[in-house]
Amino acid sequence: MNKKVVIIGGGIAGMEASITLAELGYHATLLEKSHSTGGHVQDWYQLFPNRRPAKEVLTFSELRMEGKVKTINDADIIEIEKNINDFRILLRNGKLVVADAIVVATGFDLFDAHRKEEYGYGIYENVITSADLEKRFSEGKKILTHGGAVPKRIGIIHCVGSRDEKSGNNYCSKVCCVTGVKQAIEIREMLPETEVFCFYMDLRMFGRHFEELYKESQEKWGVNFIRGRLSEANENADGSILLKVEDTLAGKPLKMKVDLLILLAGFVPSGGTKAIGKMLGLPFGDDGFITPKDEHTSTNLTDIQGVFVTGSCTGPKSIQDSIADARAAATQVANYLK
């Protein structure tokens, strides 16, 4: 077959869609905005629920792509023209890519935690995000306070930028809760003398083995959980962070000092999702993610012939979800092109 499919977005969903399509016999071209494929998975250390290295999942995909998928990095798309029989995609460097079908896999960005003013991210040095923590894990750095000391207590805040009208995001970002529990375990393993407290509204342990991970965090690792949303974080004179929550299960306000505060930042639709969705005229939901043709039966189709969607551009997804969804999208593309 010489039908050409262009996959926009080189994250885990885009990669998996491109490989599946290539294995089905199509010419698959993957356009990635940044210098390298892999998307956000490149930034993670260990994946929930079994804490396996993120690199393994990336390598699994990269190896299968070699020689089969044409990848163009630094691909800044400025225009997409839909003709009767094909699509013409124009890149900023002047290159033109022609496609018989397009798969949009532009994914998510992390919520910018600076916007939660009251949590002090970007102001108090001992307030970091879950992504900052993953980076420290990946780089093999010691987990220390800004002052260079081993933290005696670390706080993890759930729902930062999610389920929050003030941030403009009413939805749940799905994967942050289990990420928080995973990071709590990782911290306890690295720093056995450090107490860890997770501050949550609800614990969304939706996937297989997730609830067991929660139980393990309590039973084996002694992670503490306080049900209450952080109202404000302030800095003490020594640089530690003072937290104000309500311990809702106790029915009383609670204040506690932590040496390091980790914010579990949620998902927002990426800049690429917004831009490409607009270029193609795709509908967006109230939550800003792309709405597919039917949310039960046709989650990879759009109302535009030849345009397919996959991955987090249609809503927060775990890595398992994204890989499965990408393969599903590939079958839909094959169905269309036959």
């Binding site: 600076h114 003013e117 009251e118 002090g120 991210y121 970007g122 102001i123 108090y124 040095e125 404000e232 302030n234 800095e235 003490n236 004179a237 640089g239 003072l242």
Partner: protein
Amino acid sequence: MKVEGKRLIWKDYQKEIAEDKFFYVRSCIRQTFFPGSEWAFLKIMKEVLGKDVYENPAHTTCTGIGYHSDIVPFDTTMTVVARQFALMTEAGYQNLVPSCITSFGLYTEVMETWKHFPEEEKKVREYLKKATGREFEVPKNLAHASDIIYKFRKQIAAKGKYRLINKTTGEPLKVVEHIGCHYAKMFPSKGVGGAEYPYVLTGMVEDWGGEVIDYPERRHCCGFGFRQYLVKANRGFSVACSKKKFESMAPYKPDMIITNCPGCPMFLDRWQYVISEMEGKTYGEDGHGIPVFTYEEVAGLILGFDPWDLGLQLHQVPTEPLLNKIGIPYDPFKKYLGKNGEDIGIPIKPSMLNTQ
């Protein structure tokens, strides 16, 4: 702490503040507690900055105290506010400057209500016309008096004789800034710097040479707010709020507190005495307490006004230690002599608070 992080937020919360031609409305109670402040504001605006500030003696309370105590219904409040606007319109002004922060919050609330519910504005126009025959225009610009001083803080610094610096050590003074709740908490976009890290007083302190302290209970209410302390039995609740703030700021050893509300400095100043008498605890150095100032008093001191003209003798927590730190001269013998040199009486010395 990275101040640059705060500057990014401050950039998001900027507001329009008028340049000149202000209609000034006074506070009900401020002149009782801090008599020199409104005088200082008018003197600074008219003589130092050469601005046009007009006040009409026929203006009244905005009824904020009554409204917040559930005594005055909202319709009445809106009509009284409309009358203030009418006086402003009749005098040919469009920029309203209230002295009190609760007034500012109330005027903002009324104007926002009318924006979202225009039928309320229509109703109030009828009420006012029937009651007084007056008509009004909604002010084009509403800014609190502290916003105005904030806007002209650099000019004040330029003309100033003193800076908020400890003259012996050369270090900037450590200043706690406290914003009235009604300034930004209700409508964060109407406050300079927003509600989380307000900038209106911070900007003044920075340009006048001081250093602002960020302490954990910075946002906490001082406990004023009318409803709870009007009844004596509830006053402990108000004191507890101020006490929480003092406990939180004490480890930073602040030199002074600056505020922009009529009630806050009153509470923060007087409650230090009450806490010292009830629990024997004082804050500040050597049991002197932490002196509390209004921003007009600080601006006046920077410009070299006489401390007794500013009314500092009526502060419960003595301000002399701070005046000494800055190097502002004052005549201790003139402290309790009034305007015409008459003896206004010396207060009883408190048992715990050091007023030497």
